[in-house]
Amino acid sequence: MEFGKYVKDRHTEIIFGAVAFAIILLLLLAFHTPPALIIMVMAVFLIFMVAAFLWDYNRKRGFYQQLKENLNDLDKKNLAAEIISEPDFYEGKILHATLYEMGKSMTEQISKAEQSVTDFKDYVEMWVHEAKLPVAALLLKNFNRGNDGMNNGMSYGDDIGNDDAESDQIKKQLMKLDAYTEQILYFTRSEVAEKDFLIKQASLAKIFGSVAARMREELQDNQFDIRVSGLDVQVMTDSKWMEFVLTQLISNSIKYGAEDRERVLEVFAEEKDQQVQLHVRDNGIGISEADLPRIFEKSFTGENGRRREKSTGMGLYIARNLCRKLGHGISAQSVQGEYTEFIITFSLNDYYRP
């Protein structure tokens, strides 16, 4: 609270005081009061006026100053009134009560909103688990049908007959469906405040292995050559979350492969400065310089997303959020027309290191 502004705010009272001062002075002069008495009366009047003024300024200043400081220091501003003592002047009491009520209602609303997000997340988790059952049953049924064909001596293997082509398509569509349900699962997991992961020691080779095994057909259909090296490293992470992140990166590599050369996916890890860096590098069409800084933004599709397959712009956004929550860094480098490389950085000196 600034003194100047306080004075300015109370100018009416000051004017009234000054007018009273002038009237009393004139009255005293009119009644020929002795000058010594006039000076004494006016001095007493002035001193008490100023004292009352300063006293009022001081007690208000104490309250407002504390309120202001709380507001600056607090991360959650709605709690500012909770940690201030009630003032001893009337207006302050009104303000304090108001702020307190507002803060309380805000807190209630926040916790309601958080609860409903958590409920929604729980529902999504359950829903996704349920949705996976029919997908799993259909995939099996599709596979069993194909096998039936083989047992009856029908075409199988490299010789892709109509039946096989059809079952292949069904399988691909089902896998896509599964990938979409995974995406919503991890989206909600990444948005919820509560900690929903388990950090433990995990081998990068194993994490990449299960992603690769699941994506094998897609990678091989697109003629990818996989080169891995140095993956025998242990990092601290949630391997299921990491598998999802890698799946997003690799499906981008598949989507945005270059047509004019043999496709290569290089996955390698290096250890340096208390960090492990996992690199996922393809030799695809790359990302334009203008788009590169924005690829992790929500719903960003960019040039590639528009020109090629339709893209939701969510994969990398979710991947980045998951990495953030796990405490890993994620970044991308690219030269358009040459390559795209994603780098995930795992800290080795984390407090939870074994």
Partner: protein, 225 residues
């Protein structure tokens, strides 16, 4: 014939699993009483149990924990739960493997075969015809001569061996290799198979691996050779 018990409350999935496993030559033991799974699983005489986690009235992990106190039958968890916590819990309660739905049927069959293979290894040696095979050491020998197989060749041999006398498609071999962190391409698979063939020939097993055009490969039983 190996008996596999399926504990899965989704009827459609159970039916397809049964078809899959029977097609592969396993006998399937159905679970009758889903109300009293705890008692039901204890009576199980199967050689392997496929266990779901989300079961009516009981959690599969809890079921596994109680089961493990009494029996050592291998258990593979099949679940649609994709959280690290579930996997860690299941493995610490003694699951032999943990596979998430929807699974690749070929991988599921390979993992089942792998569990049985681990059980059957007597002193870590497979015997096939006059040959003895040490998967862990990567060595195959006919008593006089020892030959070293690469990791890829051994994986291929093991898959062919597990289905000796039956056609194994290239797709199955490929799946097995990738499931073991060997990301070979089509050409490399062909090369690996011909190397394996040559090595077997060196030990006097010419023609052990037969090519079925457009279908796959067969490893002949020692008796048929």
């Amino acid at each position: 014939m190996k008996k596999i018990q399926i504990i899965e409350d989704d009827a459609a999935l159970r039916r397809e699993l049964r078809i899959l496993l029977e097609g592969e030559g396993y006998a399937v033991v159905e679970t009758e009483d889903y109300e009293n799974l705890a008692a039901e699983i204890m009576k199980s005489e199967a050689d392997l149990i496929l266990l779901d986690i989300n079961l009516p009235g009981i959690n599969g992990e809890e079921l596994l924990r109680r089961f493990r106190k009494e029996k050592q039958t291998p258990v593979i968890m099949l679940t649609s739960r994709t959280s690290e916590t579930d996997e860690v819990l299941s493995m610490s309660y003694g699951a032999d493997d943990y596979i998430t739905k929807p699974y690749n049927p070929t991988i599921l069959l390979l993992r089942i075969a792998a569990v049985f293979r681990r059980m059957n290894l007597t002193g870590n040696v497979l015997s096939w015809g006059g040959l003895s095979v040490h998967p862990a050491k990567g060595i195959i020998s006919n008593g006089e001569k020892e030959i070293v197989l690469t990791k890829n060749e051994m994986i291929i041999f093991e898959v062919l061996y597990a289905k000796a006398g039956q056609i194994v498609s290239r797709d199955e071999l490929m799946t097995a290799l990738w499931d073991n962190e060997e990301y070979v391409n089509d050409n490399a698979l062909t090369v690996n198979i011909s190397r394996l063939r040559n090595k077997l020939a060196e030990l006097g097993c010419d023609g052990a691996v037969e090519t079925r055009k457009k279908q796959g490969y067969i490893l002949w039983n020692s008796e048929n050779m």
